[in-house]
Point group: C2
Chain length 492, copies 2
């Protein structure tokens, strides 16, 4: 059950509030058949793809079902749903694809889900301006297919592209596999529309750049549903590239590979795909193309053919100078084939294995230290089976590390505790080197109590201040992003 | 005099507040000799470089002097100053270089200025990570010189680089002349420190990218002093380029030049400098290299030599296909020499000529329409002498227009009214084509009552909500950015 806390939503009220059944009736009066209460619909909107929620399900500790799922078909209907929920003090959880892996959706008692699933499809596309606007519930791959039909690309390739929505990309501040050249979602987003907790509609201007006060898109990028519901997004597109060529090298160690990446990134070369795997992951993924014990770097170059050629040559020169050995480009083809296969957690959990990926980031000079600290610390966790990492998103001043762990604790009851311990150790390592605790999966519930390590007490206070102003009762996605907003059993 | 309004600071209080003299004494008790009250110091911090403030000065209508100028030497002192001002309900105006041109500084009655002038210089530089941290009051050119001493560049070249501070760049969301490749200040900013209105200190994390809730840097980028004072900034640098080469073309008209830019931008070529001048400005600036009546496009390519070569060739091919004729590269050299000569308004004002530049932006398909609407509409203003434009910052989906106007109304008393009419017509044109009202100078006072055209009522409400949370009494730079925050005589 929910318990009172310092701020925000405190769970269903004992008196003065509508009964749960009446809440649904009030929603129905406002939104008619958009309000779904069939058991299978409720069950499908209870949570995202966070492994701890999956473990809870497996162990019979599933969280509550939503009271109802509002399948809004328009911005007006989202606005109406939020207005009703505010008036009736009903907590609201926005739901896109449900592919989040941080517990950004774990419906609290008595809450209503607003699904964007029926707000889908292209609104307008201008191939001269390179713009395409979509309703927020459009599946990522569907949006990409639509623009590819015009010879264009969004250039945003999260591994979840088949499972996530374009609105979800914005709400979680997603990155894609091609981000090293094309940027993350904030770099491809041109404008958006969102409904605030009070039902009012914000639309940002369709302009390539503005100096008109703080950039309002940024209030919603990474907002994880706590500031309302994103209803439309417009991307600034690219033409499909004239040329596309893979390239691969292996290095004596992770350190040498990092140094090669740093060197070609600093002078301005930008292959869309730059991925360096430690020896463990190189063996796992590239046994046929990477000698044992070496660290594999795979690259994909895209753009005008002339650019691709000079970039490939420059990257090769840098990699050779850093001790890299050219590898079979079949490694890139293999990655391209397998890149969007999102593994299911369930078969592992059933075997008593708890596992996850944790993405962190830091400046170049601290990458190897972060890698070593995190993997060494994870290696000390009882039952650990695996601790490995790769870098998949690089920048002028640093890169990310995508750390994978798996553990089988002796006692099955310790799976959740082991999980938390692995997360704690990895984020401790990121904090110790001065890095960032979250590169692209977001905060959700899994990192919520560590957000203070990223932005400090004053940063938390700043976000809280905005939250109180927009959502004084803390009804929008309570328990997510901001620490201490509820104390439900779902909190870790 | 100040009059009450709906929200925010309403001017000095009649009773219950400290007298103005006592306010200075309280500040002195907290900050000692950091508190300056010499008349020449007060006079130098009264306003920024907005032409209407300059006109007021010329005509003997200067605004009030600040009560005092706090020359803080540290973040702690900025924090102390803000805490005292909040406790004593003293309005506060942050002051960087004073080079703003939108009325972002026009001190209201009874206010204190916090100057960052004594918070200057490099804090740390890491040439491997390409990072450099500066105190906020560091002059732009000083910061650039420091990093150039290490073979690096910030790559941010506002025309005001000799007159503006690195903190001011962030507070105003500045763009530089090399933005087409290197981005605007939000793209070179890695992290920052700022003091909130309550004196608490926010520091963002030194990480190349994060998905950890909304990006807190964005609350300060474009905040124009209304959310506190920026105290430190860290840039993600670049090495000085291996090669740098100019290129120039002239076109039959502005339309043909715009089309050429759109075509090479869309496939991904990124010369740092891409500037297209209409025939009027081409004649004014490039009489020796551009035939009369033609539109001049100048470019500067930078980067690895191999990249510069293929990019120059591709841009040339695109420009020729769009009807461009190669021009003498001396045009680029001339621009490089003269680019930071910021013209003074005073000699014009003394002759009864009112003038300004207005930067707006839109998507490619509307650029020519915006250009024609704005220049035609300006041509109808009584006394107009000049209405011309160039594009100086391009993007995948659009570009900016930098519109220059000058007018000599028959009646000298009509200078301010003529000014407002020219602004109104230009922003009306930007709004009519669906574009943005402010590309890189900010809102200040000159655009304040048009911010609603950019972000709508709900956007204004969102910013107001944040403002109320952080600065409930509206003490931080009242009258700027948010409409209706004061009704002082300085408001236009």
């Amino acid at each position: 059950m929910l318990e009172p806390s310092g701020t925000g939503y405190h769970g269903p009220h004992d008196d003065g509030d509508l009964t749960l059944t009446n809440r649904v009736a009030v929603l129905r009066a406002a939104l008619g058949d958009r309000v779904r209460t069939e058991p299978e619909v409720l069950a499908a909107h209870r949570r995202d793809s966070w492994v701890l929620s999956e473990l809870d399900d497996l162990e019979g500790r599933s969280g509550p079902l939503p009271l109802a799922v509002v399948e809004a078909r328009s911005t007006v209907e989202v606005s109406r749903a939020l207005s009703v929920c505010r008036a009736e003090r009903i907590p609201v959880v926005p739901f896109g694809g449900g592919s989040g892996v941080c517990g950004g959706v774990a419906v609290p008692e008595g809450a209503v889900v607003i699904s964007t699933a029926r707000m889908s499809g292209l609104i307008e596309l201008d191939s001269s301006d390179l713009t395409a606007s979509f309703r927020a519930g459009t599946w990522g791959m569907e949006a990409e297919r639509v623009v590819q039909g015009h010879g264009l690309t969004i250039g945003h390739w999260p591994q979840s592209i088949d499972l996530s929505t374009v609105g979800g990309w914005v709400a979680t501040r997603a990155s894609g596999q091609y981000s090293t050249a094309y940027g993350s979602v904030e770099d491809v987003l041109l404008d958006l529309e969102a409904v605030l907790p009070d039902g009012s509609v914000v639309r940002t201007r369709r302009t390539p750049r503005a100096s008109a006060g703080p950039d309002l898109r940024q209030f919603f990028l990474g907002s994880e549903g706590v500031f309302g519901v994103i209803t439309e997004v417009t991307f600034s597109l690219r033409p499909l590239p004239e040329a596309s060529r893979g390239q691969a090298f292996h290095f004596g160690g992770f350190r040498e590979g990092v140094e090669a990446m740093r060197r070609f990134m600093r002078v301005g070369w930008r292959p869309p795909v730059v991925r360096l795997y430690d020896a463990r992951e190189s063996e796992r993924h590239f046994a046929e193309t990477c000698p044992e014990g070496r660290a594999m770097l795979i690259l994909l170059h895209e753009g005008p053919a002339a650019l691709v050629e000079v970039q490939r040559a420059a990257v090769a020169e840098t990699c050779h100078a850093a001790g890299g050995v050219e590898a079979d480009v079949a490694a890139v083809d293999k990655w391209l084939l397998e890149r969007n296969q999102v593994p299911g957690f369930r078969p592992f959990l059933e075997k008593g294995i708890i596992l996850d990926t944790i993405e962190v980031a830091c400046t170049w000079s601290r990458v190897v230290e972060l890698y070593e600290r995190a993997t060494r610390s994870l290696a000390e966790v009882p039952g650990i089976l695996l601790a490995s990492a790769h870098s998949s998103h690089s920048y002028r001043s640093g890169t990310n590390l995508y750390i994978t762990f798996a553990a089988r604790p002796a006692d099955r009851d310790q799976m959740a505790a082991t999980y938390r311990e692995c997360w704690r150790r990895t984020l401790d390592a990121a904090v110790a080197v001065g890095g960032g605790i979250a590169h692209h999966h977001g905060i959700g519930r899994v990192r919520r109590d560590r957000l203070v390590d990223e932005i400090g007490d004053a940063g938390i206070a700043l976000l809280r201040s905005l939250k109180r102003g927009l959502d004084p009762e803390g009804l929008c996605n309570p328990g997510v992003l901001l620490p201490g907003d509820d104390r439900s059993r779902r909190d870790r």
